[in-house]
Symmetry: C2
Subunit: 159 residues, 2 copies
DNA sequence: CTACTTGCAAATCGTTTGCAAACAT
DNA sequence: ATGTTTGCAAACGATTTGCAAGTAG
């Protein structure tokens, strides 16, 4: 955690940005809630517990800044708010998500599943791949025994 | 085109919805602009050329209805507006997108690339897959010769 | 010092909604 | 007739922005 913050402080300094208390509080909230996919407002509510004067706009600005630096990824699960996700330390690729249509949970997959697929796309379409986004909509392992799989209506993922 | 409209008329009737002139105009605009990924407002501007009295709210309601019926998919390329995409006729899976970070073009891939990957996910995570979303960010075949690939900055896809 | 940051409130912008009128069957 | 659909304008909610004051390095 501390080393992680320290590393980010460096990254900020390299671009002559400062690690203000508000930014640090925001980062700590995000680090304490990895895998939770918080929205800007949710982050803000938690940040205010550490630094009560912090404004929502500042949190938005911090999140935007971290996205630009490649520290965070923005993700959109179609519920009307952008959510923020730490990019894997190796910074290689965006990770994948399993979105449960029953309970709404979003699990992460950190394995890179797309090696061969990327090769195929790259060759077939002459497309130089820089990044990808992959998510699956379905029934998670927690719900799978509680639903009749034939009953689960064709999902119309909100997005 | 006409058969496609006719089929959708049937689908609507099965759910006791009507194919009104506004809905038909909206569908025609979408059919005439497949692969264009129009936003609601862009659709509306085109619809008004066919049926000038049509309101933007009606277009939104039509697009939402079509999504619920599984005729359209909503897609979000992170530019602030939801865009609409005809679901492949076989209605099997959402198709994939190649998003060019240079020129912004979005190409579609209709092949299903994920057969094996889905099997792996399904087994490994005990996740019953209903649908998926996959997109690649990179440099398209039109731009690939005009850019130094090492120059292309690490992309921070807006989403 | 002084450029970078912040908080606040107002502004934006895509999308949704209430409602009375118009319409389809 | 009767339930659906529409257009309009107002409401909404997430995000952004202008600006004067505050602060990190």
């Amino acid at each position: 955690m501390e080393e992680r913050i320290e590393r980010i402080r460096q990254q900020l300094h390299e671009h002559s940005y400062k690690l203000t208390p508000q930014r640090e509080a925001t980062l700590r909230v995000l680090l304490e809630n990895e895998e939770k996919h918080l929205s800007a407002e949710e982050v803000w509510l938690l940040v205010k517990q550490k630094a009560p004067e912090t404004g929502l706009a500042t949190v938005y600005r911090t999140l935007e800044l971290m996205s630009e630096l490649g520290i965070l990824d923005k993700v959109n699960f179609g519920d009307g708010a952008v959510r923020y996700d730490f990019r894997s330390e190796d910074a290689e690729h965006h990770h994948h998500h399993l979105i449960c249509v029953e309970c709404g949970t979003v699990d992460e997959i950190h394995e890179d599943l797309l090696g061969e697929v990327e090769q195929a796309v790259s060759d077939k379409f002459r497309f130089h791949i820089l990044d990808h986004r992959l998510s699956f909509h379905g029934v998670c392992h927690r719900c799978i025994d509680n639903v009749d799989l034939d009953e689960v209506s064709k999902p119309k993922p909100q997005m």
